[in-house]
């Protein structure tokens, strides 16, 4: 991943910054330039609630080359308390302990290594609470 691309996403990956439409209050993660709901172009920056519920998940047994050393690992779709949904890995848990409806919290973690130098790329993972 080239550095400008990685750097651009830092507000979302490190700090969970999202955009809230000032007209209809819909929250978008990542932020958008136009609201699909009401077509407004006016947003305010907010930080996502870190806690939420697991809606569905899978356990990746065959990963792409980049994640092949980490299998098996769980990935799920989480609905945060403010209603925003995102996809994240589930960290610090036995994969067979994960279940739909589990309460989770987003934490800051290393996600992957990039390129032949092994540049560390960070972001959010979820832990069971």
């Amino acid at each position: 991943m080239i550095s400008p691309r990685y750097a651009r996403e830092i507000p979302q990956r490190y700090r969970l910054e999202a955009g809230r439409c000032t007209v209809c209050n819909a929250i978008y993660f990542p932020p958008r330039l136009i609201c699909p709901n009401c077509k407004s172009k006016s947003f305010e920056e907010i930080k996502l609630n870190e806690e939420g519920t697991l809606l569905t998940f899978t356990i990746i047994r065959v990963g792409s080359e980049k994640f092949s050393k980490e299998v098996p690992y769980a990935v799920g779709i989480i609905e945060l308390k403010d209603g925003v949904r995102l996809t994240a890995q589930l960290a610090d848990c036995a994969v067979d302990k994960v279940e739909i409806g589990a309460k989770v919290k987003l934490v800051f973690r290393k996600i992957q290594e990039e390129g032949k130098w092994g540049l560390h790329c960070y972001g959010y993972k979820a832990i069971l609470i």
Binding site: L55, T58, I59, I60, R61, V62, S64, I77, I100, I111
Partner: protein, 382 residues
């Protein structure tokens, strides 16, 4: 809008075609289609390919293919909508003729997936790179999350998922162009290697090479070349969020239902009027959800339907008589065109051992990513 017909078809065998190049398989399929249609000229070409750049490092596919077909200087355009690239190419060809701009257009699709690229990573580009794939989700992983949600919400069972693979392999065993002509048992599917829980290896469509092409022609001109034109009575397309997690429901595919509503309206028919369909079964769960979205079964009943044999070759609504992506193979860009070829063969009564009885109206549903794009065509024998 002018009426449009399909008047010729051609495809390579799907599978691991290590001795043939990307351009050679496309040209093989295209030449077969041209010969099959008996046309005297082609006005333009559309080529569907998802990721020739990642799979073999070649872009500018329209130009490559037209050159190697010996057809310069006719216009050629590459069309991309992930796994729905073939359907999108067909739709562009259809629209070009319907608009009156051209008379005869070749629509093809091609993918070469076994030349050494990281297929898992390449296919994952159909999902959101920054907010899904970055976090380690794979393509089977996305459908696995749909499967788990569907099982949780509707009680769909692991056996019902497996029944899709069993049925499609049975159909594919009768298709000479299929990658896998072997049948599989329910037990084999249930015991195959876990890829992304709850999906196992035999729930997944394979990695394939292959190409497919069809010739579309205005209905007026079609009579010059054939007594048996197959009419395109609907061409519809719809979009949904690129990320699976952004959707209100994780067990529905809104692009499919939206395209289906448009297609049925265009054709002036209801789901019950469809005699058979090709559905984009990239994973077993996809076929179950799609048959619900197309209106063949109530929401949540798709799993029971396949288990009861309603989607079998002699069932109420045969799904994937070709073997589907599961057994026929899934060279991504070629898939949407290969679905049209199955419709053509069934509607002209040339599907051999897998012929559907009284096949008069067929539907092809081609889908990109985890359902962010969907293209539906309905064809009718006249």
């Amino acid at each position: 809008m002018k009426d449009v017909a399909v008047i010729g078809i051609g495809m390579t065998k799907f599978g691991e075609l290590w001795n043939q190049s990307l351009r050679d398989i496309f040209v093989e399929a295209a030449l077969k289609a041209i010969e099959n249609s008996k046309v005297d000229h082609i006005d333009s070409i559309y080529v569907g390919t998802m990721s020739s750049g990642l799979f073999v490092g070649q872009e500018h596919i329209g130009a490559v293919m037209t050159d190697y077909l010996g057809m310069n200087p006719i216009p050629a355009t590459r069309v991309e909508s992930a796994c729905a690239s073939g359907g999108a190419a067909f739709r562009q060809a259809y629209l070009e003729i319907a608009s009156g701009q051209s008379e005869i257009v070749l629509a093809g699709g091609v993918e070469k997936m076994t030349d050494g690229a990281d297929v898992t990573e390449s296919l994952a580009t159909a999902a959101d790179q920054e907010y899904e794939v970055y976090n380690g989700v794979t393509f089977p992983g996305l459908y696995a999350m749909i499967a788990r949600a569907h099982m949780h919400q509707f009680g769909t069972t692991r056996e019902q998922l497996a029944a899709v693979a069993v049925k499609n392999h049975k159909n594919g065993s009768m298709n000479p162009n299929a990658q896998f002509r072997s049948q599989v048992s329910l037990e084999q599917v249930m015991k195959s290697t876990m890829v992304a829980d709850p999906l196992r290896l035999l729930d997944c469509s394979p990695v394939s090479d292959g190409a497919a092409a069809v010739i579309l022609c205005s209905m007026d001109a079609a009579k010059k070349f054939t007594n048996n034109p197959i009419k395109v009575i609907a061409s519809a397309q719809a979009s949904d969020t690129i990320t699976l997690h952004s959707r209100e429901s994780l067990t529905t595919l809104k692009a499919v239902s939206a395209a289906a509503v448009k297609a049925y309206k265009q054709a002036g028919i209801k789901p019950a009027d469809i005699n058979f369909a090709e559905a984009h079964d990239c994973f077993t769960i996809a076929e179950i959800v799609i048959t619900e979205e197309l209106g063949f079964f109530e929401k949540g009943k798709g799993g029971a339907a396949v288990e009861q044999g309603l989607t079998s070759l002699n069932g109420k609504i045969p799904i994937n008589s070709s073997g589907g992506l599961k057994s026929k193979g899934h060279p991504v860009g070629a898939t949407g065109i290969a679905q049209i070829i199955e419709l053509y063969e069934q509607l002209t009564g040339k599907a051999g051992d897998r012929q559907v009885n009284n096949a008069r109206i067929g539907l092809a549903q081609n889908m990109g990513g985890s359902g962010a794009s969907c293209i539906i065509h309905i064809l009718e024998a006249i």
